[in-house]
């Protein structure tokens, strides 16, 4: 009986056509890039491994809708600053974030840092990402850009760190010194949002490092998602009533992106659920890629 079921399901599986079409493939200096189409979704895929979910997707029927939950979670940073005038995004991906934030805040200036020129080309050709006077892309190492911006005295109201593909972590973007340099770019009302790691020993080390630089921050995890977003601020963190009020005001403008912002505030916590004795990551000690696998 069981055997027949196995045969039957195997037949069924082989009958389904491979539903992911590769429409573009290129090898860049840093990685293999693929653009795949699955039904209505077009996705940017970096790692070829199936367990790598850190990619960018766009729904072709409804391009405004943000497909990935961790990207939607990034919008929680707006709860602490509803009108950022200047935005810095580290990591372009398919350009989902700069496109959405550019549409949401037509007055804001947005700087995007992306190390890989091939990713910029792919975002422009396949994901309708557009560079303009307001939305600029800098093909550079983020550490170099941020250090220079700091010396220039540049300030941003919103900084989003989204530079981690899951396959290889740029270790110099995880350290206390890097976070301090990033913190120095935050304006008086500035907010930092970081898509970071939610599992492995790296979670402890990273959390301790953020605490060390920013003090208390909001640790944001959604029950259905395996991601964690860190939200830190130059100002003291708002209380839950202020968060809920901001969420109500943002819910209408964010609805077109499929971001259910009103459900976010109750998942924002400052409680630590990590090993507080883990060492801080520094420029002297940052074995992030080795820790990721433990």
């Amino acid at each position: 009986m069981t055997k027949r079921w196995i045969v039957f399901s195997m037949l069924l599986l082989s009958a389904v056509p491979s539903f992911s079409d590769v429409i573009h493939r290129e090898k860049s200096l840093y990685r293999n890039i693929e653009v795949q189409e699955t039904g209505r979704d077009r996705c940017l895929v970096f790692a070829q491994r199936s367990d790598d979910r850190r990619q960018s997707c766009v729904n072709l029927k409804n391009p405004d809708r943000v497909v990935f939950s961790y990207v939607r979670m990034t919008f929680a940073g707006l709860l602490l600053n509803e009108r950022p005038g200047s935005i810095l995004i580290v990591g372009l991906g398919g350009g989902t974030l700069p496109s959405a934030l550019g549409a949401l805040y037509p007055e804001a200036s947005i700087d995007v840092i992306e190390i890989d020129p091939a990713v910029v080309r792919v975002a422009e050709s396949f994901f309708d990402f557009q560079v303009s006077d307001r939305v600029k892309v800098w093909v550079q190492d983020a550490r170099v850009f941020i250090k220079r911006a700091g010396r220039r005295g540049d300030q941003y109201d919103l900084i989003i760190l989204d530079a981690f593909t899951g396959e290889y972590i740029p270790e110099h973007l995880m350290t206390r010194e890097f976070l301090q340099e990033t913190q120095s770019l935050l304006s008086n009302t500035g907010v930092l949002v970081a898509n970071t790691f939610s599992s492995s020993e790296l979670y402890d080390y990273e959390s301790v490092t953020y605490r060390d630089v920013f003090g208390k921050f909001f640790n944001f995890k959604l029950p259905a998602s395996g991601n964690r977003v860190v939200i830190a601020s130059s100002k003291p963190l708002p209380d839950s009533r202020a968060l809920q009020a901001a969420a109500s005001r943002l819910s209408v403008p964010l609805s077109r992106f499929g971001v259910a912002i009103e459900s976010f505030p109750r998942f924002l916590t400052t409680r630590s659920d990590w090993d507080e004795d883990a060492p801080v990551l520094t420029d002297q000690f940052s074995p992030a890629n080795l820790l990721k696998n433990r």
Partner: protein, 209 residues
């Protein structure tokens, strides 16, 4: 006993010391090179050109070191001078520990392009210690060679042992050392090892003369 044979025997005895020290210098060269990427990353990123800078500077420094070491081996090669190379290499590594950030800061402010920035910073930080470590290789050959017939075999054995040291230095540093220790701890340990190696060679050399 002919004078040449009398000269040979003690040299054979010090053969293992030279091999051990050649292994050590091979290990340290690659370990420092690997750490170089980490040292430069906060200022110049970790793009491929940063590695390009580091590797080219190491290659140039080693080639200069080979030349100088070979030249110095001509006149009265001895273990004391050999030991001094190790101590000098140790001293050459110290600025990386104590002045790397100041040096990179200055370069970062002076040069916008991170390619040339990383090239200059690599030169400032790594050229001198690597060149001194490079001097050790040909000098080791000279210390161990006692006749032309076997010179190729001796050189081969030394390349073997020092390159094996390099492989191990690369592997241990990237797999374990950076996970266990801060970079400066690793560097200062290598400084200590080099000084001990130098002292060993110097002491043995003094006894022999």
């Amino acid at each position: 006993m002919p004078p040449e044979a009398a000269h040979q025997k003690p040299l054979k005895q010090i053969g293992w010391v030279v091999l051990l020290l050649a292994f050590t210098s091979g290990f340290i060269i690659m370990s420092v090179e690997l750490l170089g990427g980490r040292i430069l990353a906060p200022y110049f990123g970790s793009s491929i050109y940063v590695w390009g800078s580091i590797i080219s500077i190491f290659m140039v420094a080693l080639s200069v070191g080979y030349l100088i070491g070979g030249r110095l081996s001509v006149n009265q090669p001895n273990l004391r001078r050999y030991g001094i190379f190790f101590v000098l290499a140790a001293l050459g590594l110290l600025p990386i520990v104590f002045f790397a950030n100041q040096a990179m800061d200055a370069v970062f402010m002076a040069i916008d392009d991170p390619r040339y920035g990383s090239l200059l910073a690599s030169t400032l930080l790594f050229f001198i210690p690597t060149a001194i470590l490079g001097m050790i290789a040909p000098y080791s050959v000279r210390l161990m060679v006692n006749n032309t017939e076997r010179s190729g075999q001796v050189a081969g054995g030394l390349y073997f042992i020092s390159t094996l040291g390099s492989a191990l230095g690369t592997l241990l540093t990237s797999f374990y050392l950076v996970l266990w220790f801060e970079m400066n701890t690793i560097l200062l340990t290598m400084v200590t090892v080099l000084i001990l190696a130098g002292a060993l060679a110097f002491t043995l050399g003094s006894k022999r003369s």
